[in-house]
Symmetry: C2
Subunit: 342 residues, 2 copies
């Protein structure tokens, strides 16, 4: 690996500079991405290995990033589970048969990644060949809670009423669903690792709708099991959004690296999760809409909060927002390297 800063940081080993990559670094803020997106739907891009590989590599060519992340979506395993997924025009994904009853839960199937998402593994192999060891490649999956809540709600949700109805009203049904989803996540990630992903990240984007006690009971056990079953493979990044009030519990779930959003200070977050974990984060993505001077000041602040300790991976606290100026992305990446250089 020509650039192993990122892998070293996952193992909490020192290197010359703090590694940086950005969630949703391949995306609509890049004109190269839009040139392809104009001709293909989002799902077509995910399911076409050549396109997925090309889009994965766009930000690597444009910026001095220390890791690539495969272009995909956390909902790609759903059709293989028997869940009908559509990306409605200009809306988010919609599920035609959301899971609400015991019968629905019983009908959820295990996936065979080579049968149901073969294009993803092909894309990973193509990216690896193109990268030729330049930077490592990250695979990813939704965490069990986030996948469950999407499958249950059927679309983006404000209050997660159906999800919590199931949790509170039928805890046994909830457990059965979460066990099935956990199996899917493990198989899905193991296939990505077999195809060449050098690190994997779990995205628990919606788990922040839970309070600490509900997180402990309804989400943590499943994330923990998934991470345990990945032991001995590659480093795991355990990322959740809006989990700042129970980061101690998030860390209990395991993962070589804990990802944190911008609602916590990085220094306090690291103290809370413990220095036996690496940490990833946590610039507010909306700072990238501000002046470059202010972006640089805030990057420096976060690098300083990490205090030169080995095991900090710089990232945003959430994915790049639509409309983010490309120059701001470049400013972040370059500032991380500049301010953390030895």
């Amino acid at each position: 690996m020509a650039n192993d800063r990122f892998l070293k940081a996952c193992r909490r080993e020192t290197s010359d500079r703090t590694p940086v990559w950005l969630m949703r670094q391949a995306g609509r803020y890049m004109k190269e991405y839009m040139a392809i997106r104009e001709k293909h739907s989002f799902l077509e891009m995910c399911r076409n290995p050549e396109l997925a590989a090309e889009v994965t590599l766009q930000p690597i060519k444009a910026f001095d990033l220390d890791a690539a992340i495969i272009f995909a979506d956390i909902l790609l395993p759903l059709p293989g589970m028997g869940i009908e997924l559509e990306f409605a025009k200009n809306e988010g994904p919609v599920i035609r048969n959301p899971v609400r009853t015991r019968k629905d839960i019983d009908a959820v199937r295990m996936i065979d990644p080579e049968v149901h998402v073969p294009y993803l593994m092909q894309a990973i192999k193509m990216v690896k060949a193109e990268l030729a060891g330049k930077v490592p490649l990250i695979g990813f999956s939704g965490a069990p809670f986030t996948l469950a809540s999407y499958i249950i709600e059927g679309e983006g949700s404000r209050n997660y009423v159906n999800t919590k109805k199931l949790m509170y009203g039928d805890p046994e049904g909830w457990k059965a669903l979460m066990d099935k989803i956990s199996d899917v996540v493990v198989a899905y990630l193991k296939a990505q690792i077999a195809a060449g992903a050098e690190v994997v990240q779990l995205f628990d984007s919606w788990v922040g709708c839970l309070g600490p006690d509900d997180f402990r009971e309804f989400a943590l056990p499943y994330t923990k099991k998934v991470i345990e079953r990945l032991k001995g493979t590659v480093p795991v990044i355990n990322f959740g959004t809006n989990t700042g009030t129970f980061l101690n519990l998030v860390a209990e779930g395991g993962g070589d690296v804990i990802g944190v959003d911008w609602r916590v200070r990085l220094d306090e977050a690291w103290k809370t999760i413990g220095y036996d974990h690496a940490i990833q984060g946590n610039l507010d993505p909306v700072v990238l809409f501000g002046p470059v001077k202010e972006i640089r000041r805030r990057v420096k602040e976060i690098v300083d909060m990490a205090g030169g300790r080995a095991g900090h991976i710089f990232n945003l606290g959430h994915g790049i927002v639509l409309g983010t100026p490309v120059d701001s992305v470049r400013a972040v990446v370059d500032a991380v390297h500049e301010f953390s250089g030895k």
Copy 2:
């Protein structure tokens, strides 16, 4: 006052039972409310003192609540400030001329509550006459940050890009806008107090999009000033959503009572804000979609976390969600009194 549990709790004095009221207790989950709403738009209801008074009293008649809250909306002062507000059909409120530039900020006007929102004070007086001292009446306002972000975004927002653009790009402009809004909030609340509100609550519903350092710089000083200027009037409840990672700073803003959402444990939250504040909260509103047995178990858990300490006001962690069963609301109110009875 026949029932002074709520006022006593605001002052951290003991009483026979923990007082309870519920944010958005007058609302679409009640058939009595819907009977009126079918004939009038939301804004019509707010602007008609008879209707606003009637709707305010509906939950007081239906449940054993310890406080009433005037039926109103945090955006009612906007037209008086020169901001054109519309409630689009089936959508949320929309602002036709959102504030984005220095010129826009300069154009924001101070309100005269008796001229711009006279109906609100009339409604308060009518409710007070009807209540005849049965339970206290709460007045309220949006907190400066939440009002600013609505005025800037012009509608509900996912990422608050325009708000943060102004904050990061023109901190002086931000300060000018927040100073104006703070003046409005003080005048608006003082008028409600003069009309008879016995307690006032600040709703900082959107401030949870900020990290702790941004909260300290861009929101806290203004909330603090507002609360300082209300000293010597009535008790103030300082409530924010998604502020669990910086409750220490929220408490710095002041307020006799700090309101907390469900993402924190009540016992830990109280410890963080300090026992020199009363605390309000914090049942997850979506628990009300679960079985009554589970609702009661969770109410008891929160009552137990308060540990019999004087100064706990039971509430949800956020407003009642559309579709909440009326029987669940009754179950919460009754369980609070049952489990906290001496």
